[in-house]
Structure formats: structure tokens, C-alpha cells
Amino acid sequence: MKFAVVVFPGTSCEVDTYDVIKNNLNEEVEYVSHLSENLDAYDAILIPGGASCGDAVRPGAIANMQPVMKAVQKAAESGKLVFGIGNGFQILLEAGLLPGAMLKNINLKFICKPTQLKVENNDTAYTSAYEKGEQLNIPIAHGKGNYYCDEATLAELKENNQIIFTYTSNPNGSVENIAGITNKQGNILGMMPHPERAVDSLFGSEDGLKIFQSIVRNWRESHATNA
């Protein structure tokens, strides 16, 4: 399985994300520039955290105007997995690939600390290795992670089981404690916590690893017939 890690000017979590794929999963992975216009060679697209394009105007707003985003849109429409972490989630919201928007954290502070998450839906390509209701220790690091959507969107998220992760203790003011959501089809995931920072007990937690393992396992299963 071949992963792309998309790098914008200002992205800062690309090495951690790359290393998980390379070292923890032994899968193929390449960095892809924000100027790239083609992602056809990749099976899954990872959009890592950081402050892409300096978070100017709004986090993700300028990043969304870069050439690579057309290719991300195309990959998403074709059903490929597109996974945004932290700022990557903010970019997917700006791109309209996921519903809603991020506001400033309710306490107006940048928060960098471990959080406890709950797996709300384990019936996805990203979470099948977890138990439903499993609690995970995964850190957050953001100033604008206060997820907001209108009531109609929230009802839709609930109806389609698109709320994947919630905080057990809401750190930032997010609606319904939301930490991560998918699109209706389930091939796009965005989450504010950083699972790539929780993949080894040396980091204090390895609870994030199963997200990446789920991705690979599901991809192998769905491609086994062609092998």
C-alpha cells in the first residue's frame, strides 16, 4: 500500500506521520509537495498537522487554494482514503470535503496536552481495529480546534454515524465533544488529536497506532481479490 504525505509551506508534522507509515507499518510512503497536481500513484492521502501557509486568514484557508488540493478532491471523489490530522482536518473543512468549521478554543488558548478519546464508531476503514467505546490516550495541539456545525449538519453526522471520536472531557468547546468525523461515505477522516504522536509506549501512548493499522488492513482486505 502506498501513502502520500502532503506537505505545504508551514506543515510541521509530516516527519512523524511519514515515520509511522515507514517504520511502524513498513508500507510505502512519499512526501508530496503542495504544488503537485497528481496523486494517482497513491492509495491513501495523509494531510499532516502544522500551520500550513502560516494559518493566514484562517487555518487551512490558503492551503486549500494550493494546486495539490484539486488532486486531493479528485482522490476523495474516487473513494480513496483521505486523512487529515490537526491542521489537515482544518484544511479538509476549508475544502468542503468535511462539514463544519473550527472556532478558537473556548478558553482562547493554544492547548497542547494528552486527551482521552472515545471510539464512537469502529465500523470504518480507520477504526476497525478498535473496539466500539474503547478509550484512547492521544494528544492534541491546537488553538482552533473548537468544532462547530449547525444543527442540521449535526443531526446528519449523528444519523450517518459520522462522529468517529469524541473527547471524554471536552478541552476546547467542540460541539458534542467532537474530536473526529468522516464524510458520509466514510473514506475521508478528519481529527484534531494527533495519533501519529501516540504510536509507541516511549511517547507515553501507542493508542493512535491502530488507526494506521486499520487503514492498511482494510486496504489489504479490499484488494485481496485482485492480488
Partner: protein
């Protein structure tokens, strides 16, 4: 001729404004108990060359395309014609 455009971006009424709430509390504690609410927005100035395009439409597209997140923000703008320097 050029246009000077003033864009005012505000959070939608339905959206909680943490900055505004903090400012409200601070002002009330300071010496302005009469302050009921503060909402913090953004003010953006654009300078545009006159072109064939309809200026109103262009500014709407600029706002929707980048300056404003329609999920949580509203906007309005004022257009002035100015002499290019």
C-alpha cells in the same frame, strides 16, 4: 480609476464568540457594567483595479473564495471609487 473595498466579517449570530465573551466579562468588571455583549469580527481592506467584471460580483467571489468562512461567518462590504496613485 481603482476601487477601495471595505469588507466587514462577523461571526454568525448562532455562533458562540469566545473572544467576545471574554471581552464582555472584562469590560463589565472594568467599569462598564452597561456592556451587554461584545462580538469580535474582522475588517479587511482591498484595493482593486477597475476591470470589465462587475465589481459587486468580484468582491462576493473574493469573500466566498477566501476571506469568509460561510459556515460560521457573515460579511458585508462597501465600495469606494478612488483615483489610482
Amino acid at each position: 480609476m481603482m476601487y477601495k473595498v471595505k469588507v466587514f466579517v462577523t461571526l454568525k449570530e448562532s455562533v458562540i464568540d469566545p473572544q467576545g465573551s471574554a471581552a464582555t466579562k472584562a469590560l463589565q468588571k472594568l467599569e462598564f457594567p452597561e456592556v451587554q455583549e461584545v462580538r469580535v469580527g474582522k475588517y479587511i481592506e482591498l484595493k482593486l483595479e477597475k476591470s470589465e467584471q462587475n465589481i459587486d460580483e468580484t468582491v462576493h467571489n473574493i469573500c466566498k473564495g477566501l476571506l469568509v468562512n460561510k459556515e460560521v461567518e457573515d460579511y458585508r462590504f462597501e465600495i469606494e471609487e478612488v483615483v489610482a496613485q
